[in-house]
């Protein structure tokens, strides 16, 4: 029972229009020296072995004793190297120690460069310290933690086969992992990186995927992104929000206090609630707010005001698909004044002793305001042909 699909604004303006730009954090220019991270690890060894297989000597006499010996030495080194890779179990024992989130700090940051045998790493890089003043970091950290904790909670309900490759959530904060930041040559935070499991040691700069801080609904987007990049079962990322006992306690307290107040002062409250003017005012304000487009601003999270390229402010955004926060205020003010003036006009007319001047003045004002309203509407709808008087 619908008509068509709407055309989203983003397809006209691009996605980033309303998304917060990552705040810049200026770090001291890193004194970065490239660590040659190429050690022999499993895949490399396998390649090595294969290379060895393809040598002329080996292909000529594969079963001769020295060749067999050499062969087994190669395989032995391969196995040793394999066991050097970091496994999930080791990670749990050595670093996680029962925590849900891995903390990357100055001491352990090198583990990022080790091969990850059987797990995926999602790393949240942030700077919560006061010296950086990163608003987005503070905003995004709690949802990230909720997601990480939910994953840990869900993981307990499934068998290892169902889980597949586990995902490790890690956080690295500028305050305690400055060295890591330098290694990464980071310029701005927050960032979320995905390091896929590898058999080769790699540089920390070798990020497999980077999350884009774009949409408003961070937690859902991050969840989708994680499922897309790590191929984890979405059911493992079902979100559990831990009950906030502080909030519950506060609510109970507030409710109790309210109940007591109501019990003690119910007559006063009844008189207050029975007051017609209260309801009249409330109704008027809500109606004017709604017809001035308040809900549009709430739902679309519109900007309050817009600034053009040249720096001059824009108060009214043309077109029926968009609206600025300030428009609601302008129009609400116009509606409110027109309402008040109309009521006054009625009262002036109903007053038999009135001289009539008042009515004339009020109706002139009504006319002017109405012209103003149409003028604002002209800015919205360029093709509208009528106007009372052209104010601007």
């Amino acid at each position: 029972m619908f008509p068509g699909t709407s055309v989203p604004d983003e397809s006209r303006r691009g996605l980033r229009a309303s998304s917060p730009p990552p705040s810049k954090v200026f770090l001291p220019r890193p004194n970065f020296s490239f660590i040659p991270a190429y050690k022999l690890h499993s895949r490399a060894v396998k390649e090595h072995v294969e290379q060895f297989h393809s040598t002329l000597l080996y292909s000529l006499c594969p079963n001769s004793l020295p060749m067999k010996l050499l062969h087994s030495i190669f395989w032995l080194t391969a196995i040793i190297q394999l066991s050097l890779a970091l496994t999930y179990k080791q990670l749990q024992e050595k670093y996680l120690k029962g925590a849900n989130i891995l903390k990357i700090d100055n001491k352990n940051y090198k583990l990022i460069e080790e091969p990850r045998e059987d797990f995926e790493l999602i790393l949240f890089i942030t700077a919560n310290g006061a010296e950086v003043n990163c608003r987005l970091c503070k905003e995004f950290q709690p949802p990230f933690e909720i997601l990480a904790n939910s994953y840990a909670t869900n993981k307990a309900d499934y068998s290892d086969e169902e889980i597949g490759k586990p995902v490790v959530f890690a956080i690295s904060d500028f305050t305690y992992s400055r060295k890591f930041f330098e290694a990464l040559k980071l310029q701005n935070v927050p960032k979320i990186f995905h390091y896929a499991s590898t058999e080769k040691a790699s540089n920390a700069l070798n990020v497999d995927n980077e999350y884009d801080f774009t949409a408003a609904d961070f937690i859902a987007h991050l969840r989708n992104w994680i499922t897309a990049t790590t191929k984890v079962d979405p059911k493992l990322l079902e979100i559990h929000i831990p009950p906030n006992y502080n909030a519950i306690a506060t609510n109970v307290m507030v409710a109790l206090i309210l109940l007591i107040v109501i019990y003690k002062k119910y007559e006063l409250i009844l008189a207050f609630l029975g007051n017609k003017n209260l309801w009249q005012g409330l109704s008027m304000v809500t109606i004017v707010a709604f017809i001035a487009g308040h809900m549009f601003n709430t739902i679309r999270n519109t900007q309050y005001i817009m600034v053009t390229q040249s720096g001059s402010p824009v108060y009214v955004q043309p077109g029926h698909q968009q609206q600025l926060g300030v428009e609601t205020q302008i129009v609400g003010l116009l509606y409110g004044s027109l309402f008040a003036l109309s009521v006054l006009l009625y009262k002036a007319g109903a007053n038999k002793e009135g001289s009539g001047w008042l009515s004339i003045v009020i109706s002139i004002f009504v006319f002017l305001l109405y012209s103003g309203l149409i003028g604002v509407f002209h800015l919205k709808n360029m093709g509208y042909p009528y106007s009372l008087i052209r104010l601007f």
Binding site: M1, F2, G4, S6, P8, F290, Y386
Partner: protein, 742 residues
């Protein structure tokens, strides 16, 4: 009859006056009807007598089915031509009121010897009902105002009522859904809404079982016609609830409410689509709750008259606590067990405005479900929008039962209209009532010239001021008419099946690409061909091309829509798998780049991506369709996922050929595709079979799988390698060789 007495006064027999008055009212009504109907005929005169938009095509198809097959077959209709391969239990999932209404009119007219084509009845139904709405508005406003001296006294009552009827007759907020050809549920639902409210107000006033039964009857008609009946379902109990809170409990309210609730609920459950919803779904819980409450109030009222004050208060507290606990526990239990369905998403999104955006992209995607900017209110209601609060203020001056109703309706409807643009439709009537009350009050004060005639001191000023006010408001009324006519003419009279545009010399050009393409489908494809398109076009393909579709505007199956979205959004290789599994024969794509038509599939593409991302987040990701800088590009710099997507390729395939001497320009998005890039867009698994005159509709056919089992992708590559430059040109110009089937 008319005599002049000796003092020079003219006396007229009051019977003659009454006759004159009623004659005048009748004349006014005839004028309103003419105005209301004629302003809705723009589209018929400009284009032709044609069904508009999307949904009306389904309603039209259903009506034809009803007329040809009779009512019982209609109720049991299983439609296997939509939602292939699932089908749709159409008879049980539609509101039959509209179709039954037109079928009844059709049969009646045929009986009295006026056989009119069912299409014309469908086209003209909405304008015809709009004149009925005007009359219903007249009675409603009269009923709302006639027991209140301060809202409208004496002679002014009929004035206010007439004003509201006129306003309603031509307000664009209502015309938007009721122009000729807009054969949709709302066309009759607004009329029924007004009639139901009229009888409800009358019932409350008189406490009459008869009138509340009539209310229930019209409520039933409303339920059968439009899903928006939930508005009545909640507004009437809220009205009663507020009256109870105000201490206005009377047996009249009890009688009218209980009668309406019991009869209305029982009757509404007879509609197959509604079924047991009225006792299970949460959006019907308000009337049930108030029904229970009013019983308690009645019992309380009885005890109050029997017991001493002290005992009564004790009893009230104890029973209140017990009932409260029982109620809450019962509610929780019922929800847990599953007796009560959770909030339906569409309704829930009205309260928690971010709910739909996050959880149900299919709802968020519908253009009618977008929130309303202020400009739309002004556009649809003109100066009534600022008179609206004034009228509400007047209602507060004398809080009769009717006035309370107006206030509740105003606040609720303005909230709903703010959340969803299409609900301006339910706001429009009350705005007209309030505007009429406000303007009547002003006119009543300022058109009273007795002082002037009697010759008081400041004669001139009074006269001048009165004329100023009357003149200015008279002008606003005139302005309203101009505004309404302009809006109707320019915004609401396009059938959207046929588009119109202006040539350089100012002459009108009709763009008939949709029907051209649908007709091509109808004539050139096998009758059982399955056509895949985005859901917007499902009803039109069913109605005009008479071919099987996969998804349509009913949107009942999100997964199925997401599947189609995914087939459009992924690469050819993956898309082929999906399309083969679905059983697609043809694919229809709307492309506005040539014409500059902004409602095309590329602009809607993000929703296809989002909806499929909701189901397959690991395979489709919205971010991938934007460039690294976050731009939505379709030119050379488009994101890779965009360039690979089936929809993109089908839209821009051969686009470069339109611009033989330079870059191809997409006129919707204002982006340039370089010549070499535009030529490199190639399709392997489908072949173009039809493109309409202005490239608005493009049809592709999914190729048959290769006989030797080679993949179509590699096959095309080989072919390309082999083809010489000349051969390639020939291949491109090859037209599909299909014979016309008659």
């Amino acid at each position: 009859m008319v005599t002049i007495n000796d003092q020079g006064y003219i006396t007229v027999n009051d019977r003659v006056l009454k006759l004159l008055k009623s004659l005048l009212i009748v004349l006014i009504f005839i004028s309103i009807t003419i105005a209301a109907v004629s302003s809705r005929l723009f589209s018929v005169i400009r284009f032709e007598s044609i069904i508009h938009e999307f949904d009306p095509w389904f309603n039209f198809r259903a009506t034809k089915y009803l007329v040809h097959n009779g009512f019982y077959k209609f109720l049991n209709w299983f439609d296997d031509k939509t939602w292939y391969p699932l089908g749709r239990v159409t008879g049980g999932t539609l509101y039959p009121g509209l179709m039954v209404t037109s079928a009844v009119i059709h049969n009646l007219l045929a009986k009295i010897g006026l056989p009119i084509d069912i299409r014309n009845i469908c086209v003209m139904l909405a304008p015809a009902f709009s004149s009925l709405t005007a009359i219903a508005m007249y009675f409603l406003t009269l009923e709302l105002t006639n027991d209140s001296e301060s809202i409208a006294n004496g002679t002014a009552k009929a004035t206010a009522a007439l004003f509201s009827a006129i306003f309603m007759g031509i307000t664009p907020g209502y015309i938007s859904r009721s122009v000729a050809g807009s054969y949709d549920n709302e066309a009759i639902a607004i009329t029924l809404l007004m009639i139901t409210f009229y009888f409800w107000i009358k019932a409350v006033k008189l406490g009459s079982v008869f009138y509340s039964s009539v209310t229930a009857l019209f409520y039933f008609y409303m339920v059968s016609a439009w899903g928006g009946y939930v508005f009545i379902t909640n507004l009437i109990p809220l009205h009663v609830f507020v009256l109870l809170l105000m201490g206005r409990f009377t047996h009249k309210i009890y009688v009218s409410y209980t009668t309406w609730y019991v009869l209305g609920t029982l009757m509404s459950m007879q509609i197959p689509f509604v079924g047991f919803l009225p006792i299970r779904s949460n959006d019907h819980m308000a009337p049930l709750g108030v029904f229970g409450l009013i019983q308690l109030v009645l019992i309380g009222d009885f005890f109050k008259s029997q017991l001493s004050r002290k005992v009564f208060i004790k009893l009230a507290i104890v029973s209140g606590v017990v009932v409260g606990i029982l109620g809450v526990v019962g509610l929780i239990l019922a929800t847990k067990i599953g007796l009560i369905a959770p909030w339906t998403g569409r309704f829930y999104s009205l309260w928690d405005t971010n709910y739909a955006k996050i959880h149900i992209p299919i709802i968020a995607s519908v253009s009618e479900h977008q929130p309303t900017p202020w400009a739309s209110f002004f556009f649809d209601l003109n100066f009534l929008i600022w008179l609206f609060p004034v009228g509400v203020w007047f209602c507060f001056q004398d809080l009769t039962d009717g006035a309370v109703f107006v206030i509740i309706y105003s606040v609720l409807a303005s909230y709903f209209a703010g959340v969803m643009v299409r609900l301006i439709l339910t706001l429009a009537p009350i705005v007209c009532v309030c505007g009429a009350i406000a303007i009547t009050k002003l006119f009543e004060v300022y058109s009273d010239f007795t002082d002037v005639v009697k010759g008081k001191s400041d004669n001139f000023f009074t006269l001048f001021s009165k004329l100023t006010v009357l003149g200015s408001f008279g002008f606003y009324l005139f302005f309203y008419v101009k505004h309404c006519t302009w809006v109707t003419e320019n915004a609401y009279s396009s059938p959207s099946v046929v588009l119109s545009s202006y040539a350089a010399d100012g002459s009108q050009i009709l763009i008939d690409d949709y029907r051209e393409a649908y007709y091509w489908l109808r004539m050139n494809t096998p009758e059982d061909a399955k056509v895949m398109a985005w859901w917007d076009y499902g009803y039109q393909i069913g109605g005009m091309a008479d071919r099987t579709t996969f998804v349509d505007n009913n949107t009942w199956n999100n997964t199925h829509i997401a599947t189609v979205g995914k087939a459009m959004a992924v690469s050819e290789e993956k898309s082929e798998v999906i399309m083969r599994q679905l059983g697609v024969d043809y694919i229809l794509v709307i492309f506005g780049g040539v014409l500059g038509y902004s409602g095309d599939d590329i602009n809607k593409f993000l929703w296809m991506v989002r909806i499929s991302e909701g189901i397959w987040p690991e395979e489709v990701s919205e971010r991938g369709y934007f460039t690294p800088r976050g731009e939505y590009k379709v030119d050379d710099n488009a994101a890779q996922a965009m360039k690979d997507s089936m929809l993109y390729k089908m839209s821009f395939y051969r686009f470069g050929e339109l611009f033989p001497s330079g870059d191809a320009i997409d006129r919707v998005r204002g982006q340039r595709l370089s010549r070499s890039y535009a030529e490199s867009i190639d399709l392997n698994i489908v072949e173009e079979v039809f493109t309409s005159e202005n490239w608005l509709v493009r049809l592709y056919k999914l190729k048959e799988p290769d006989n030797l089992g080679r993949s179509l992708l590699t096959l095309k590559d080989n072919e390309k390698k082999l083809a010489t430059k000349k051969g390639r040109r020939l291949r491109v110009n090859k037209k599909p060789s299909l014979d016309l089937r008659v």
